[in-house]
Symmetry: C2
Subunit: 228 residues, 2 copies
Amino acid sequence: MRIVAGKDILRANDQLAELNFRRFSDAGVFVVNLLGSPGSGKTTLLEALCRYWSGRVRMGVIEGDLAGSIDAERIQKLGIPVVQINTMGACHLDAAMIATAANELELEHLDFLFIENVGNLVCPANFRLGEHLRVLLLSVPEGDDKPVKYPVIFQEVGAVVISKKDLMPLLPFDLGRVKGELRQLAPEARVFEVAAIRDEGVGEVAVFLEEARRNFGKVSFGGEVGRE
Amino acid sequence: MRIVAGKDILRANDQLAELNFRRFSDAGVFVVNLLGSPGSGKTTLLEALCRYWSGRVRMGVIEGDLAGSIDAERIQKLGIPVVQINTMGACHLDAAMIATAANELELEHLDFLFIENVGNLVCPANFRLGEHLRVLLLSVPEGDDKPVKYPVIFQEVGAVVISKKDLMPLLPFDLGRVKGELRQLAPEARVFEVAAIRDEGVGEVAVFLEEARRNFGKVSFGGEVGRE
């Protein structure tokens, strides 16, 4: 009898993620895995990107949550195609869930597919979904010590979005400290600052995403944007 | 050959957690498993409790983090016995880690042992550590939709501390919604509101903990405070 251990599961997930990656690339859709703690502002950033692009860019969204469809309802109100995944208690999305959810979307009609992962700074780090880019949100109220305390996930991203920057004057948050840690952990990662609820800084993120999409023919699986 | 599946791991963890529970109870130390998202204010609440009790109550702390010892250094500065657990990537503490860490503390000399879990609203829910009480922090910036989106962990707690309440006037946060959800998910759980950085509301939490400790001879394993 063969025992399927953690490493095998990750390898099987990677194989399926690579199939997703090819499928997304063939369809011409640039896929972003959106990561962050619970309440870091992932859905709010998607809403702000939708307002910024206002129909010029075709977005689709896959929402990952343990339960419910609160975030998917927010996205649906914007007229964006959206699929909700309920993980039934699982702490992260995996490539199989994404393969299934993607069947519900017309990929060829999308420029971007955003996958909002389960709010969690630990477990999603090890599970690739077939994305071209990982973007991690770090909200100002979470504090400037998060890269030191959750280094694995920060090492895996192409961009870090410091969210809720309008709260920076009110809270102890040393942006220089965060940027210094990121230079160590993820020297290739771009860093942005946004207050998505006020539409501040969202344009810079959108321009970066558009630029990444223009170059994504050059990206191969395992060499996602921002990965060395 | 026997396959050790998820359920077996949880059962083994529960058995060890029960041993921890008896050891803590015999030593007369009331043990609190402190849960919450990254940056929800767990360490800041411990600092505020230390200020509130100012030597009248003997605290000990076990800090759980993926990496580093930032939180343990904060606690040590207050003159409180503290042990840092580095989970080496694991997303939650387990009973074996706690059994080992507890060896580094003089349990008989403590009134309270606080175990600060890894910042995570998902995985720690399933792993009992031998605690008498679970306290979950929900910070105002995380948003009022967290009980609906992470119901499992909210169902398992004896108290919910709404932290960073000083930000409530600035952010969209419907306290009534949270309390309504909690009445469904955890009808036995006490709800507190604190701004620990300003020492607001901390006294109520401290009094509740002291009261729980006075009654903890009545608590049996599996019937932790707030559990039905």
